[in-house]
């Protein structure tokens, strides 16, 4: 049985439909990524699964517990790392974990061992008695990961776990996430809009746009669905129709002097294609990425609508409601 199962999960705020009927089946041990632009409904979906946001309609089960009817049992089974940092910056690293351990009812006999174990896993043992206000962004994130896994949740939710970190720290944070998920045998559900990173980490991704899942598969499969590699050639008067007829070519598009061809196994067939062209100025071959998949499915770039930090207004409304209602 799937560890997370949702059916037509829906959330509306007044007239705004933040999430419009999401069906998910996530298997135990998977690292699953929810990808989508700001305001697509990622955070709202995770919020509902964590029982922080009330479900409007549909159903959701986590490890066999009903999210709507048994929120308390669900809360014990999930760990959450929020998008915005939620560490208690007056407390030390260890104290943050102690607070969390008590809130999750981890017995005293077991508490210190478990805290030490997690601190070691995120390499924060030597800084554990420092106030977290003095931690760097990467350290804070790692401590939050440790906190999220402290009570051995069946599912760990990570909402934009690398947001606001520099590229090097982001790479390290992903390494920690992979390592911890493996060691703790935890299912991980994460949201991100760093497509390249999701590609490397996730076993499967769901692409979400306007509150709907529009594609769900392993990153490699999604990329294959693009019809092969993308070749961009600047050349004069290319014989578009003849190129189209080639058996390994899926699509051809010629505009502004740039010929865009999607083709299977470009490394084998490119030479033949080039022989058909005159005055070739430059050739670019691109293996498709998840970003390309996203552009193809939604017709726009994931980061097009707004900077990373400022959510779209739907997300803002969602956040406002969360706090104000």
């Amino acid at each position: 049985m799937a560890i997370i199962e949702t059916k037509s999960l829906t959330k509306t705020y007044g007239k705004i439909q933040a999430v419009r009927g999401i069906d998910l089946n996530i298997e135990k041990g998977e690292i699953f990524g929810l990808l989508g632009p700001n305001g697509a409904g990622k955070t709202t979906t995770i919020g509902m699964l964590c029982t922080i946001i009330n479900v409007t309609s549909g159903s959701a089960f986590i490890a066999g517990c009903n999210v709507i009817k048994e929120p308390d049992r669900v809360r014990r089974k999930v760990g959450i790392v929020f998008q915005d940092p939620t560490l208690d910056t007056v407390l030390t690293g260890r104290e943050n974990l102690e607070l969390h351990a008590r809130l999750y009812g981890i017995s005293a006999a077991y508490r210190q061992n478990r805290i030490d174990e997690m601190l070691e896993l995120v390499d924060l043992k030597d800084r554990s008695n420092d106030i977290t206000r003095t931690y760097s962004g990467g350290m804070r994130r790692r401590l939050e990961l440790a906190r999220g896994l402290l009570h051995k949740p069946a599912v760990l939710f990570l909402d934009e776990p690398t947001l606001g970190l520099d590229p090097q720290t982001r790479a390290r944070t992903w390494e920690y996430i992979k390592k911890m998920a493996k060691m703790e045998q935890t299912t991980v559900v994460l949201t991100t809009h760093y497509m390249e990173e999701a590609e490397q980490v996730c076993d499967r991704v769901g692409i979400i746009d306007h509150g709907r899942i529009i594609a769900i598969d392993a990153p490699d499969n999604l990329k294959e669905s693009m019809g092969g590699d993308l070749v961009v050639i600047r050349a004069k008067d290319p014989p578009v129709e003849r190129i189209k007829a080639l058996h390994y070519v899926s699509t051809v598009n010629f505009s502004d002097g740039a010929l865009e061809v999607t083709m299977k196994e470009a490394h084998l067939h490119l030479a033949e294609l080039l022989l058909m062209l005159r005055d070739v100025e430059c050739v670019e071959v691109r293996v498709p990425t998840l970003s390309d998949v996203f552009i193809k499915l939604t017709g726009r770039d994931i980061r097009e609508d707004g900077s990373e930090d400022s959510g779209s207004w739907v997300d803002s409304v969602a956040r406002y409601r969360q706090k104000g209602n």
Binding site: R75, L103, R147
Partner: protein, 254 residues
């Protein structure tokens, strides 16, 4: 509620209290200012006016000692409660609120944490009581009990307000229109007798803090207007109502 469940809730209450206590220990400047301010009222204001005035045969400075204790409970408690607005802004509370602990337990932990802070401050102020010749040290335990009940009421009130406020701008409003009127209308600085204008007398008698001040003054100076049972009942009812209201508003807070 199963025994295991109860145990987990108790652990949750303790966790929240423990966090507040750690914060209290770390924020030394907050403790110092909460001690210095009442001492300024007593020695700068009280000694100044006390030079020429005494009330009910008690030197004015000694007379306002119970009132200033109540004042420090008032300020400490309400601002402790309001502080959750800041916690929410920093999302510190978010991680606590998603834990499998009931809101009531979290609220209770917060109230206990606030009362601990305030009562520790009051205990420090009691250390200065030897400087006030009219104060009867044997009355301190009873005064402490009354101040504890008052503190439960006021921390709950602060948390109730903090649950509703969206931003820190509301602080100033609450301070000017609630906290200061409660203080001035409590009889902390003057006796509530027939010499007061009628309108002022009415307002003072409607203020539950008046009964706290009167009770503490009775315990420490043996000067009081209302019978002890009236003082105790009013502040107890005040505490129950505020605790109930606070726990409901806190549970609804998102």
């Amino acid at each position: 509620m199963g025994e295991r469940r109860l145990q987990k809730e108790l652990m949750g209450i303790y966790a929240v209290w423990w966090r507040e206590f750690k914060v209290f220990q770390r924020e030394k400047s907050r403790i110092i200012s909460s001690i210095v301010q009442p001492l300024m009222w007593l020695f700068l204001f009280g000694s100044g006016i006390g030079a020429s005035i005494s009330v009910s045969d008690v030197n004015y400075r000694d007379y306002i000692y119970p009132g200033v204790l109540t004042m420090s409970v008032l300020f400490g408690s309400v601002f402790f409660g309001l502080y959750i607005v800041w916690d929410r802004k920093l999302d510190v509370l978010k991680a606590v609120l998603v834990a499998p602990v009931s809101r009531l337990s979290i609220f209770l932990g917060k109230v206990l944490g606030g009362c601990t802070d305030v009562i520790l401050q009051v205990l420090i102020l009691f250390c200065f009581s030897f400087l006030f010749p009219s104060v009867n040290p044997w009355g301190i335990p009873l005064a402490l009990l009354l101040l504890l009940i008052t503190s439960i009421a006021l921390v709950s009130m602060g948390l109730a307000l903090g649950s509703m406020l969206e931003s820190l701008e509301g602080f100033q409003v609450i301070s000017s229109f609630l906290v200061f009127p409660l203080f001035f209308l409590s009889g902390a600085l003057f006796p509530v007798d027939d010499k007061l204008p009628v309108w002022l007398q009415g307002m003072v008698k409607l203020n539950p803090l008046t009964y706290a001040v009167d009770g503490v003054r009775g315990a420490l100076l043996n000067v009081q207007i209302f019978p002890f049972y009236v003082n105790l009942s009013v502040i107890t009812i005040f505490a129950i109502v505020m605790f109930g209201l606070g726990s409901v508003l806190f549970s609804r807070m998102k």
